[in-house]
Symmetry: C2
Subunit: 407 residues, 2 copies
């Protein structure tokens, strides 16, 4: 190797540093951090897609807020990229109008501002992407590679859609079997439309705030139509039209996307598919990702942790669609041979997740704890979540296991 004089060496080093910095900038331009994509988001959120923005909450961050998920760490799965709305700050109500149409006796349009004068309601509910847990399916389905951080527990406040209809003296036709909500197409956004069963009207809320603050623009502010108990996708952000309809909407977000194979109108939650196979989705052989299925998550210990023994506190959350209560969460440390009921923090029906905890007596060494929830309707979780494999990887709710060590 030739010797270089000091000046030349320094020059080359300088060039290298400049190249490195440029490369780093280029890399940063390719994968901006969460806070660069959405103003006010925690930079630790995992960027699954930039435009429309999709951010996952890292699991350790999720479990650090076991009561309410703050706007800074709440996951995002946007299907529409509304210009100027990528911020956790609120969006202006000024001039925001929403049309109510379809099978009603008097169609009308209201100003979002009018909602401020009506009685307000509040609901704490799980918001969960129907793709949450997708990476646990094998083989990996297409779609955003969610681990378990595509969910959160938030409090929405606003006006019940029923209250609004009553205040306007508007009545539904008996033929109205679905509520179809349309997101704003401001700035040339593609249409985003979802239909839910008319039963969802009972709790439907025109949300103006989240966790006591103006509803973040990136989460649907100024007005989001939320359906407690329904998967995230149904809670249409930036709502600008609400239709009462006889049938489900026929846009791609309703069919074939966001559906799982079923034998329609049976209580079979999904029709098992050969993993890796294709399915000819239709309205008559599949159902939408509507009601949140029963699920439970272990918040502590975390995978790979070492904890003090012999008494080990295991804790987490469980939830369902809120139509019936979670009856119990049970934990097993022997692969399911025996299950022990955990203590639930609250009883009764709720759209919120329910915290649970159990204290186990465990010897030093390696352990795996599993948790499963069971609700009053007799619904639980599959032991092997992959039985629900579907080509788009929706609605994973397999029993979660965590491996850890007792010191």
């Amino acid at each position: 190797m030739e010797k270089l004089d000091r000046r030349t060496t320094l020059k080359l080093m300088g060039m290298g540093a400049a190249l490195l910095a440029a490369g780093s900038r280029a890399f940063a331009q390719q994968t901006p951090t969460a806070d660069q994509l959405v103003k006010g988001k925690n930079p630790k959120l995992i960027v699954l897609s930039q435009r429309p923005v999709v951010l996952e909450t890292p699991y350790d961050l999720l479990v650090s807020q076991p009561e309410r998920t703050s706007k800074e760490i709440l996951f995002i799965r946007n299907n529409v990229d509304l210009p100027g709305y990528n911020t956790v700050e609120g969006a202006s109500l000024d001039g925001w109008k929403v049309e109510v149409t379809g099978l009603v006796d008097k169609p009308f349009t209201f100003e979002a501002k009018e909602l401020l004068a009506l009685p307000q309601s509040e609901v704490t509910m799980v918001l969960q992407c129907s793709g949450n847990g997708r990476t646990l399916y094998n083989p990996r389905p297409s779609g955003n590679p969610w681990k378990r951080g595509g969910m959160g527990n938030v409090t929405f406040r606003g006006v019940k859609l029923k209250t609004l209809l009553e205040s306007k003296g508007v009545k539904l036709s008996e033929k109205a079997l679905y509520i179809t909500a349309h997101a704003s197409r401001q700035g040339g956004a593609p249409e985003f439309v979802r239909s839910v069963p008319i039963h969802a009207l009972e709790n439907a809320l025109l949300a103006l705030s989240m966790n006591g603050e103006p509803l973040p623009a990136v989460h649907g502010g100024p007005v989001r139509l939320v359906f407690p108990g329904y998967f995230g996708v149904n809670n249409v952000k930036w709502v600008e039209k609400i239709e009462f309809a006889e049938a489900e909407n026929t846009t791609a977000e309703q069919m074939p996307r966001y559906r799982v194979p079923v034998i329609p109108n049976t209580h079979l939650p999904f029709l098992p598919q050969e993993p890796g196979s294709r399915y000819p989705y239709s309205f008559t052989n599949s159902r939408p990702n509507w009601l949140v299925n029963v699920n439970s998550f272990i918040f502590a210990p975390l995978e790979g942790q070492t904890v003090e023994g012999p008494y080990v506190r295991v804790e987490g959350v469980a939830f369902n669609d809120g139509i019936v209560p979670i009856v119990s969460v049970e934990v097993s440390t022997n692969g399911g041979r025996t299950w022990q009921k955990a203590e639930l923090a609250t009883q009764g029906k709720t759209f919120s997740w329910v915290r649970w905890r159990a204290t186990l007596y465990l010897r030093p060494g390696s352990h795996e704890v599993m948790a499963r929830a069971w609700d009053a309707a007799g619904r639980s979780q599959p032991l092997d979540g992959n039985l629900a494999w579907n080509e788009r990887g929706y609605e994973w709710n397999g029993v979660m296991g965590v491996k850890f060590t007792v010191a």
Copy 2:
């Protein structure tokens, strides 16, 4: 009191005896025994209705045949009273014809006898009335007062409907979403029609025999169209017409009877009702009693028994719709605080019930054991079966508890 001479006394006594005997005959005419109603049935079967005949298997008799339920004790829930068919003997195939029509490229009629020349298939399956367990609902719904004896496990043999269609070179239209079967109207019987989803074609069997003998006439012989995994009512006896249809049939047996309230096309198994309330059943707010829901029954100990301790064998059966396996049956003797997995006699998908057993260590005294099944799709049973209360009392699958004493 006047004194009567001996002759008068004897005469009056004779008259009394004659009156008693006549009364007893009259009573017997009002409630004939099971064997009087249906030739060959065990006289211990409980008569719930005479015409059409409805017989329940007493629970102690049911559990005495834990593998297969014999024709002598198998429950009956007939909706049609076919003259001459109230016997466990077979019915003649001679002249029995079945029409296959609707959304097929070539409608045809076949002679039941033709089935004998085609490849035979066999299936062991649970037959269960969708009203089984009705008396456990509170308040008591209308309908036959079934306890837990409206079910059995039998082996049918015959020709798969698919095999028949293939042998005739007949193809279904893609519009065929339902299979509608019609029972014979011989002797002026009222029509009895049921529709099941086209998915049921996979296992549909034109059954000619049961438990290795000609299919008893009272159970649908000579030809019954059975759909393994479906509630009893769907397995149409004395089938004379099979239609492939775009929609469910609109006769009363399809709607409003044999349905439970739901939010259609969700995985909520039933929409909970206020016990005692009424529901405006329609095709769009309810689902038929189709797939058998997950259930488990304790066959030993029986309620009120005293058994030897401290090791107590608990055993029973569990089943579901056969689409996924039963993963485990768990028992609890502390009100659900802990559950212990029982041993299953067989693994894998099956339409048969699966026997299970567990050995418990129990102190002398009173105990209650509960059992619940859990399948691979994550379905289980409600802890409080009354949450599924519906005005017709269908599909009870609440967790069963048995109180017994350890000596």
